[in-house]
């Protein structure tokens, strides 16, 4: 709840009946960002209820949508507050908002501002016009890094349970079970698993443009295997060929899956594209994980 701003009308500076109206999501970071960039400009901010979610995600879900914009204009009596009939919305709300429908229902003309709030002053100075670059979404390294924690936490429970299972299974041997063996060799499995996970949800996003292939799952396979090669040299993949191959399967599949999940954080993947990618990638990832696990368990008995 602490990320939410109460919906309603807010003033920046000393706005009057001719001041511009900006519409914001009620995600606190979006709101603060807008407010900061409006400093020195007397204006109104109409905060709508997007359940505390940022503009683009809320627009995708429809909560930053035509209905909510129209509803807020009405219940906060915007038409009585200002004489002018324009409202400025963030461009990234456009997937949820139909400008002509808002106009039809409220009389207010929707003007889409730039993608980033930091360009608002330039947009206003240019007479409510955004340059082509202000209209485009990029995905630079800094933005990708910021989203990495979201993906790391995706597998939180699994990444506690699965390594534990591997640790326990590490004690299996042809003679039965050995706790000493589990303790002495199990850490290697944990290193391998976390490295595969790291390759998929940290290395792949960070190095995204420089890894070959367009499919995220293929990119993840590349980074997963690169890390596996490093661990092969470091000696944590085991001693027999089957055991090493098993780790390549497990780490490759795991990294590939986690990398594929980063499509959700990216700013340029389409639903049709991700569906196409998953249709082949998901079965391959599952098969790799199971074959790898089976191979690894078998090596415990030979």
């Amino acid at each position: 709840m602490k990320y939410r701003v109460a919906p309603g009308i807010y003033a920046v500076g000393n706005p009057d009946r001719s001041s511009r109206v900006f519409v914001s999501a009620n995600f606190k970071l979006s709101f603060d960002h807008l407010r900061r960039n409006l400093e020195g400009i007397n204006s109104w901010i109409l905060v709508i209820d997007t359940k505390g979610i940022n503009v683009w995600c809320a627009a995708g879900k429809g909560s930053f949508g035509t209905k909510e914009v129209v509803r807020r204009i009405r219940i906060h009596h915007l038409a009585q507050l200002v004489d002018q009939r324009k409202i400025i919305l963030p461009q990234l709300s456009a997937p949820g908002v139909s400008a002509h429908e808002v106009k039809k229902m409220t009389g207010f003309t929707v003007i889409y501002g730039p993608v980033l709030a930091k360009n608002i002053k330039a947009f206003l100075d240019a007479g409510l016009k955004a340059t082509d670059s202000m209209r485009q979404v990029t995905f630079p390294l800094v933005e990708r890094i910021k989203l990495i924690p979201v993906d790391i936490f995706y597998g939180k429970y699994y990444m506690l349970i699965v390594p534990l299972v591997f640790l326990v299974l590490s004690g299996l041997n042809p003679m039965g079970y050995s706790v000493d063996l589990a303790v002495n060799s199990g850490w290697k499995s944990i290193v391998n698993l976390f490295s595969g996970y790291f390759a998929g949800c940290v290395l792949t996003p960070a190095l995204l443009p420089w890894i070959p292939f367009r499919r995220f799952s293929a990119k993840g396979l590349v980074t997963g295997w690169l890390v596996a090669i490093l661990l092969l040299l470091a000696g944590t993949l085991g001693t027999t060929l089957v055991e090493k191959a098993s780790w390549f399967l497990i780490m490759g599949g795991l990294s590939s899956f986690m990398a594929m999940n980063f499509t959700g954080s990216s700013t340029f993947t389409s639903l049709s594209g991700v569906q196409k990618e998953m249709k082949t990638a998901l079965p391959v990832q599952i098969a790799m994980a199971f074959l790898g696990l089976a191979g690894w368990v078998i090596t415990k008995f030979i």
Partner: protein, 98 residues
């Protein structure tokens, strides 16, 4: 750094030029510069840049644009499969998820 482009030839975006009035709204809302203007009508210049966000279709008064929009998100698609619904991201409030 150059633009990211995802898989080629999969996007469902379609433009019916006969309905287009050249209002340029699609150029305004598109975050990936997919559209251009030729002879006062919109054209799709770079179909593979499209991420199917649906902003253009939603803001085309003439209904000249169609696209099957949705979340381009693997976790969302898995969510949808598990629940038997359309792909949906399951981000709770807060952070910059999806």
């Amino acid at each position: 750094m150059n633009r990211f482009v995802y898989l080629p030839d999969v996007v469902t975006l379609e433009l019916d030029v006969t309905k287009c009035t050249g209002c340029r709204m699609c150029l305004v809302v598109c975050p990936h510069a997919v559209f251009g203007i030729e002879n006062n009508k919109a054209v799709i210049l770079q179909k593979d840049f499209c991420m199917e966000c649906g902003a253009c279709a939603k803001n085309c008064q003439e209904g000249a644009i169609t696209v099957k929009s949705g979340v381009g998100c693997a976790a969302g698609i898995i969510n949808g499969l598990l629940r038997g619904t359309e792909p949906t991201c399951d981000c709770s409030e807060g952070s910059s998820c999806c």
